[in-house]
């Protein structure tokens, strides 16, 4: 795939073999906003540091307005950073050499209505500097991969959202890039389509490609990403594998199966635990699972609190039928990290 392109780039790849594919250091981006009351600048990125190496499937997570899109725009050279560095393959992101090795699937792809899938791929291939013969061969391969092989000569004006996404993925892969930046790649796809995209990503990962994935679907990120960065209010709140992130979390999640006396219910138990252990009520949940038996989950900051919780339960006459320490899900990690950043609001308006 993309032999000629790859050959052309071999030298530069060798030169930058040791460089991270994505290297962002202390990146800041301030948009100058204006209103009738005067200037009102907005800090979209506030000192972001991030590296991604070859073969990484890097998930970028964050709530709306966290700065994900700005970060991607910076990586694509669309937006110029206010300060800090952003490099791809060791070269500044705005350089043509860096962008030659990048494939991008935008969130809401727009392809001119006069195109068919085939002509669109030809156009974007030419934009990437590919030769016509290579484009032709690549087009056949990619249309089959994304499932548009039988609709390649149909006007894109008749395409559904999902078909657009497939075509967008194909164009991003057209020039066999070393770094793929996928913005909501499964948006609009049916489950089968999502599964296909996941398989494509896994295949690319196995080929050593670096994939930068921006998605709201946390389960999907959890499934395919080797590393994750959680961005909130322009800052990286956590970065690493899901396991690394969960290990870094201050709290442990402990699930109890409790036999509860008749005069005591889960709510009473939760209030007493919260007051004695000085734990937020939000970190404690319960649900009945049988008569006199409840499932009680607590997010506890440390081993001492777990011991105190056991002591409290025993003191209340509760039988501990089962105790299990649980690995937090990505969603739980995400929520916790985002919640922890809530206090940064004051910094948002410099």
């Amino acid at each position: 795939m993309m032999v000629s392109q790859a050959e052309v780039m071999s030298d530069s790849r060798d030169d930058n073999e040791e460089c991270p594919v994505v290297d962002i250091g202390r990146l800041e981006k301030r948009y100058s906003g204006w209103s009738i009351f005067g200037r009102k600048p907005i800090d979209a990125l506030r000192g972001v540091d991030l590296q991604a190496g070859g073969g990484d499937v890097f998930g970028l997570l964050g709530p709306n307005g966290a700065g994900k899109t700005t970060l991607i725009k910076v990586l694509l050279g669309v937006v110029k950073p206010t300060s800090g560095t952003a490099k791809l393959f060791g070269k500044p992101v705005e350089s043509v050499e860096a962008r030659r090795r990048v494939g991008y699937l935008p969130e809401s792809l727009r392809i001119d209505r006069h195109h068919t899938a085939r002509s669109a791929l030809h156009y974007y291939g030419r934009l990437s500097g590919m030769e016509t013969q290579v484009i032709k061969r690549r087009t056949d391969e990619l249309l089959d991969i994304v499932g548009l092989g039988n609709r390649d000569r149909e006007s894109v004006s008749r395409f559904s959202k999902g078909m657009y996404q497939r075509l967008g993925l194909a164009q991003a892969l057209m020039h066999d890039p070393d770094l793929l930046i996928l913005d909501e790649p499964t948006d609009g796809l049916d489950p089968v389509g999502r599964n296909e995209v996941r398989r494509v990503i896994e295949t690319l990962r196995d080929q050593g490609k670096t994939i930068f994935l921006n998605s709201h679907i946390l389960q999907e990120v959890e499934m395919v990403c080797t590393r994750v960065a959680i961005l909130s209010k322009g800052k990286i709140r956590g970065i690493g594998t899901v396991r690394e992130l969960s290990q870094r979390l201050a709290s442990e999640i402990v699930v109890f199966e409790l036999g509860v006396p008749e005069e005591l219910d889960g709510t009473d138990l939760m209030q007493r635990a919260a007051s004695q252990l000085k734990v937020e009520k939000d970190h404690l949940t319960w649900r009945p699972i049988a008569a006199g038996v409840i499932d009680f989950t607590a997010s506890l900051p440390g081993r001492d609190q777990l011991d105190q919780m056991v002591d409290l339960l025993r003191a209340e006459g509760v039988s501990i039928l089962r105790l299990e320490k649980k690995q937090p899900s990505l969603e739980e990690l995400f929520m916790q990290l985002v919640d922890d950043s809530a206090g940064d609001n004051a910094e948002e308006q410099p």
Binding site: L76, K80, D112, H114, L127, G129
Partner: protein, 788 residues
């Protein structure tokens, strides 16, 4: 380059996918289909039309004389008059009796056309004394029954010979337009080459200007205005910018891609017109294809505005709106510039210059007369010019350092006859050049010359002369009469009672004056069979020993004779090949006479024998504007339509003309060669004067008048504004110049002939190119530095 070519190629595909493009295509095909059946055929020029009459008053007077004068019964005039319809004869009889009768040209045309069918009025003996044109002699020599068209042509020429000085010179062949095999009712009294010039210089440029300058540009902007805002949509722009392309080049590619819409439409239209002109009108004009890039260039001016507006506001509606406002601005600036040209700059242009001693006197395009005030460095008005005025100033001639002759023809700007006869004005330095009336000039006088002790007046059909002594005496006489009667109301150059005296002079004098004949004090100079209808040119020897005339293909040298009638006689004559209807210029230097005609080679003749000496092809795309002879046989000063002055020399000892490189200033208005001082006064850039020493061809003195407030405004506000705002309207002139292959065109601006006006080629192209460049650089800078 691959990515950028891909962007341009994609624009072609986008254009082809546009419904508007296909609607435009269909409209173009319908237009071309409608034009395709047009054709033409050539035929002899036979029938008279109203436009053929150069001197209608003379026609009326001559026919009236032929009607009432019994002595002319067997003369051509009487025979033609007798063949006219009864109603017209009755009217002419009334004219002959002194009544004012208005007769329309079409009545004369119909009557004379009827004469073409029945030649009973013709008599070989009667016509033996008339002017015999070469074509008429050839047709008279034909024997046996003639074709109808040839017979009618011969009849027309016989009528023209009987009525000299009445008709415009017309080509022998006319063009009749056809549509789908049917003749158009109207004829073009032009030969094929003139018809081709007409089509190339006026018809095709007008079609292309209107269709491309307005319709396609506006349509193009409507269609392409959305291209840039659509490119800026996030899903499209971010993908494009993620590719290994330069932002600036991407935008420029999009810009050129946007021009494809107009390119596709214009190409079809121009190629279609090219084939119609070639296959149907026999006009092979590949220059027409240059209209494709010029039209796209014109569109690019507006599209560059649309591009920048689309980039800044990301809205196609705003882009269209801003472009329309810009178009309106161009139009307004163009109109204001045109108004300043017409009413401020152009009327000040010095059209003729005369030197009286040390004083330069110039007549202007606006009908004014001024002298150069050396102390104040300004042109001081003698007669105030008026851009909207209809008066004409006869080019002044200097008798000596204190006396200049001229005349002001009321209403004579476009009509050679004006509102009647005008007085010759004698201007004297001691009275601050204020003119005093002298002899009445013959009607329709266009030029006056001084030759020896005589003043020559050239009018529509006559060259007449009066003695200078009598001219000056008349001034004194009139002054005395005025003082005696204390009237003092006869203003300079004004006529009394339509230029006629009281009825006491009788109708014959009246008729004579109406015919453009001599007035009191003047006498005819040339034999009566010499036609002086334009185009013509005349040089008069200042010493009064000869004059040379070129008219209707004849170059004739006249010398004074001692006959009782004092008519000058022909000393030598030369027939010159070429179209007789072309405008011509004559000049003499040493023993060489130079004849320059439009689109024809420059010819040199011996000044005495009129034998051909040399010829020189007119440089490509140049039309003659002025010709002046230099003293001592040093050659000629020739001004061409590029506004530059060149020397023409005859190589020493060889019969070979040589056109030297231009020298001196540009934008030449007129030249005065002073033989006494061997200097040339070159008027350029409206009213500046450069004086050149002709022996060393060196600049001696430069006179630049201080500007009036309006001229100042034009020079420092309007002109810069016209440079900054692209003059898209003037690109129409570029298209005209390209299609016609000429650098100038002739416009009607005077009674003698049209004035040749240079095409503005460099200014609109430079102005538009600079504007496009500035807009693209601004757009690229904005696109490259802006976050999207």
């Amino acid at each position: 380059m691959i990515p950028y070519l891909a962007v341009i190629g994609d624009s072609f595909r986008a254009a082809y996918a546009s419904r508007v493009l296909w609607i435009a295509f269909v409209a173009i095909w319908i237009l071309l289909a409608a034009l395709a059946p047009i054709g033409f055929r050539q035929e002899y020029t036979t029938d008279f039309r109203s436009q053929d009459f150069y001197n209608g008053t003379r026609l009326k007077a001559m026919l009236a004389q032929g009607t009432v004068d019994e002595s002319l019964v067997d003369q051509p005039l009487g025979r033609i008059a007798s063949a006219l319809p009864e109603e017209l004869s009755r009217q002419l009889r009334r004219v002959g009796e002194g009544d004012e009768v208005r007769i329309f040209y079409r009545v004369f045309a119909d009557a004379l056309n009827a004469c073409l069918d029945d030649e009973s009025w013709y008599s070989k003996e009667a016509w033996s004394d008339t002017l015999q044109f070469r074509e008429l002699r050839e047709l008279d020599a034909l024997e046996g029954p003639l074709e109808e068209s040839i017979r009618r042509r011969r009849a027309r020429l016989r009528i023209e010979a009987a009525l000299p000085g009445v008709f415009e010179a017309r080509s022998s062949q006319s063009i009749r337009l056809r549509y789908a095999g049917n003749d158009f009712p109207a004829r073009f009294a032009t030969d094929k080459s003139q018809f081709l010039t007409l089509v190339n210089q006026y018809v095709l440029p007008v079609i292309i200007q209107w269709l491309m300058g307005f319709v396609l540009v506006f349509l193009g902007i409507l269609v392409t205005a959305s291209m840039i805002p659509e490119m800026l949509q996030p899903g499209s722009l971010h993908l494009l910018l993620s590719k290994p392309v330069s932002r600036s080049l991407l935008l420029i590619s999009k810009f050129f891609g946007g021009c494809t819409f107009v390119l596709l439409c214009v190409t079809q239209l121009v190629v279609g017109l090219f084939f119609i002109a070639w296959l149907r009108l026999d006009i092979w004009n590949p220059r027409l294809l240059w209209c494709i890039p010029v039209s796209v260039f014109l569109f690019a001016v507006f599209y560059s505005v649309s591009t920048l507006a689309g980039l800044i506001w990301r809205s196609s509606i705003l882009a269209i709106g801003i472009t329309c406002i810009f178009g309106s601005l161009c139009l307004v600036v163009g109109v204001i510039g045109g108004l300043f040209d017409s009413f401020v700059t152009r009327p000040d242009g010095v059209r003729n210059l005369q030197l009286a001693g040390q004083t330069l006197i110039g007549s202007t395009r606006g009908g004014g007369l001024s002298y150069w005030d050396e102390q104040e460095k300004v042109w001081s008005e003698i007669v105030e010019g008026n851009p909207l005025g209809m008066d004409r100033i006869i080019p002044p001639v200097a008798l000596n350092e204190s006396t200049v002759f001229t005349a002001r023809i009321r209403g004579g700007r476009f009509n050679p006859f004006g509102s009647g006869a005008s007085d010759l004005l004698v201007m004297k330095s001691e009275s601050n050049w204020v003119g005093e009336p002298s002899l009445r000039l013959p009607t329709s006088t266009t030029d006056i010359f001084l030759s020896g002790d005589q003043l020559f007046a050239l009018n529509a059909g006559e060259l007449s002369a009066a003695s200078v002594e009598e001219v000056l005496a008349e001034v004194s006489e009139r002054s005395e009469v005025e003082e005696a009667t204390d009237e003092g109301t006869n203003q300079l150059g004004e006529n009394d009672e339509n230029g006629q005296g009281s009825g006491a002079k009788g109708w014959l004098q009246k008729l004579s004056t109406m015919m453009g004949g001599v007035t009191e004090g003047f006498s005819t100079v040339l034999p009566k069979n010499i036609a002086l209808t334009p185009p013509r040119s005349l040089i008069v020897d200042p010493e009064g020993s000869y004059l040379v005339l070129y008219t209707r293909g004849r170059l004739i040298r006249f010398v004074p004779s001692n006959d009782a009638d004092k008519l000058w006689s022909i000393e030598s004559e030369k027939l010159v090949e070429g179209e007789v209807a072309k405008k011509s210029w004559l000049a003499i230097s040493g023993d060489v006479i130079l004849l320059v005609r439009e689109d024809l080679p420059i010819l040199a003749f011996d000044s005495k024998t009129l034998e051909s000496r040399a010829s020189l092809d007119m440089p490509d795309k140049l039309s003659p504007l002025l010709l002046e002879g230099m003293p001592n046989g040093r050659g000629f000063l020739f001004v061409a339509s590029d506004g530059l002055v060149r020397r023409i020399q005859i190589k020493e000892g060889e019969n070979d003309l040589q056109l030297l490189q231009p020298f001196g200033p540009d934008e030449i208005e007129c030249i005065l060669v002073d033989h006494k001082s061997d200097q040339a006064y070159i008027v350029h850039n409206v009213d500046r004067i450069d004086t050149y020493d002709l022996t060393e061809m060196k600049l001696m003195k430069r006179r630049s008048p201080s500007l009036s407030s309006w001229r100042f405004l034009d020079a420092y506000v309007i002109s810069p504004l016209r440079f900054i705002v692209p003059q898209t309207g003037e690109l129409g002139e570029t298209i005209e110049a390209i299609i016609s292959g000429e650098s100038a065109k002739t416009i009607l601006d005077g009674p003698d002939a049209g004035e040749i006006v240079r095409y503005q080629l460099l200014r609109p192209i430079t102005s538009c190119a600079m504007f496009i460049l500035v807009m693209l650089i601004t757009s690229c800078y904005y696109f490259s530095t802006r976050d999207f």
